[in-house]
Symmetry: C2
Subunit: 140 residues, 2 copies
DNA sequence: TTATATTAAATTGTGTCCAATTTAATTGAA
DNA sequence: TTCAATTAAATTGGACACAATTTAATATAA
């Protein structure tokens, strides 16, 4: 019987899972002064790219559903970073809009990618290749 | 001002995080008939490779701490897959041992990697490269 | 020896994630 | 039209993750 396929070392998902958590952990102390968690941070990144979007659209971009986003967006609203408002054209849709404070946070956030990249030791070539492979999985 | 570093598309962590969750989601329905979650599954894989290990050793292998492992191991014990026992030589250590049922589950689990790999479309070459890059991050 | 330091698990509290269900609004077919 | 389907968020409940603290056992230095 061949049990090799059950060895941790031969898994692809396990290092994916472990390294994802490892890097999220790196973000924690860097984001904490901005009042953001990692999930809040990627949500803000999505909004900095495109404002006035529905929860559905945000969820598609972030690969998250309303079960995760609804409470998260409520917290961001409590922090006065966003406003949540129903779309008058179609009240089923909730539109998320950045506040002035939310927009201004972008400048403070500029240092985050810098600090992170100084923590992760990977060559530009490897980074590009990793990026390609991850999107390969994500896009199927 | 250059905001490109804040675009989701330019992140390395974001696709890592998103694809990790995506693949964990693939495991859910496959592991469910075995009574396992993904975290339980990797814990069992570690134990199938090496039995009679402490929580600390298990945590080092899985990159998890006692805050995650303690409740998880209690559940696995309730399922009669493992036994938890203090080491008489040093009562601080808790030793985790597979039961007969836990050992037998390995044969059932053999089909899991097969089913998963049929869901993920990646060439052997790309898989090998992805494996290398993830371990590069994990090992630093 | 004995008080202090260290170590290993367990506990506590917060923040996700997600499946499944519910609620409310809109669409569409008879 | 009108009632059944569809859609978008919100809610609920269960399972992690992890920082920080606590508890208990062991090691060590004065």
């Amino acid at each position: 019987m061949d049990y090799d396929s059950l060895k941790l070392e031969n898994q692809l998902c396990f290092p994916l899972y472990a390294s994802s958590r490892k890097i999220t952990k790196l973000y924690r102390p860097i984001l904490e002064p901005l009042g953001l968690t990692y999930t809040k941070y990627i949500t803000m990144m999505a909004l900095w790219e495109k404002d006035n979007v529905s929860v559905k659209e945000l969820g598609e971009k972030l690969y998250l559903d309303s079960g995760t986003l609804t409470p998260l967006l409520k917290k961001l609203e409590n922090q006065n970073l966003i406003i949540r408002k129903r779309n008058p054209e179609d009240e089923r849709n909730l539109i998320v809009t950045l506040t002035k404070k939310g927009k201004n946070l972008k400048d403070e956030a500029l240092k985050v990618p810098q600090e992170i990249s100084s923590c992760i030791n990977i060559s530009p070539k490897d980074a590009k290749e990793l990026h390609r492979l991850l999107h390969l999985i994500l896009k199927q």
